[in-house]
Symmetry: C2
Subunit: 196 residues, 2 copies
């Protein structure tokens, strides 16, 4: 049965998640009904329960998948550089690019945390913490190497991430600036903000 295990050519599960993602991002988790999600994929509401145990799990899986993608993509890109300045530039450009490519996921991941059960919330927050720790380590290494001057690396981590994620609130793909220009502008500010 499809309730617990997907069948051979399961394309419906992903389509349901994509519809939920789009609708949650536009209207908010609480404001979207299972019937709206079903209509978006051309099904009746009851059919959704072949693919998800309930509405809450749908939200959790979206967030969990997003955080897993984030950490996996970061790990795939973070390997080579050694000096803190280059690593910080890599992180800055990676963060902007990754988040700009997934505006709906990012929006949900920041705004719907309160709709998670406590256990699910703790899990998502743990993943976010792991991501933040990557940046904090870069900053600490830079301080130790004398290239950065940040009195409180944890606070600087929060500050940099908030600044970078803020790109999502105003950037539009066909806007005045290319993504590469945006990356460079932000990298200039980040570099100056933390440099010794």
């Amino acid at each position: 049965m499809a309730r617990t295990q997907g069948s051979h050519s399961d394309i419906t599960g992903p389509r349901i998640r994509a519809a939920a993602l789009k609708l949650f991002a536009r209207h908010g988790f609480a404001a979207v009904s299972m019937r709206q999600i079903a209509a978006e994929v051309g099904l009746q509401a009851g059919a959704l329960y072949n693919y998800t145990p309930d509405k809450q799990s749908l939200l959790y899986e979206l967030m969990r998948g997003h955080m897993d993608d984030l950490l996996a993509a970061r790990q795939a890109e973070a390997a080579n550089a050694t000096d803190p300045m280059t690593r910080l530039e890599n992180f800055t450009r990676f963060h902007i690019r990754f988040h700009i490519e997934r505006p709906d996921e990012v929006f949900i991941a920041y705004m719907e945390l309160r709709n998670l059960t406590p256990e699910n919330f703790a899990e998502i927050e743990g993943l976010r913490h792991a991501y933040e720790d990557e940046l904090e380590t870069i900053l600490r290494d830079g301080v130790a190497a004398g290239v950065f001057a940040v009195p409180d690396p944890r606070i600087a981590t929060y500050a940099v991430i908030a600044m970078l994620t803020g790109v999502n609130t105003w950037y539009r793909p066909r806007g005045r600036l290319s993504l590469d220009e945006v990356e460079t502008l932000y990298w200039d500010m980040v570099r100056k903000a933390v440099s010794a």
Copy 2:
């Protein structure tokens, strides 16, 4: 009748708005019912309609009041300084302090924009734009005076505001750092990020 005009000693209206503020911030606009708000003030749901025409207006009034407070408080404090560096420090410290004192209002103002009608949304966005323009003007003046080096003052405005507002996501009143220490840490980063 109280439906259109408040009576002499109206304390109920503010109490309703305070309850709505608290509940909207905790659970989100769509997830809070009029009955929950009424229960918080010790009333039945129907009585709320003596103070607000509908639920949507309750949200709009909270946001509108918050933005009005922000612009009024800013105007009261922004008058004196002349050199861009001092004005930027004033803005930075003001922004952090004002937002930290109103975590619920700030949370709602950023997260529930999509629950406003298009007209109400446009109005709130206009007020936010006016506030952002204050910072942008400071940055442009600083560039003209040669003390700041920001290639794109509009983008730098977005970056600084996102960074400063991010304090609300982690700051706790009885945490490791005092508000003044936080202000100083952020001011250091802002100053370095935009300085020539």
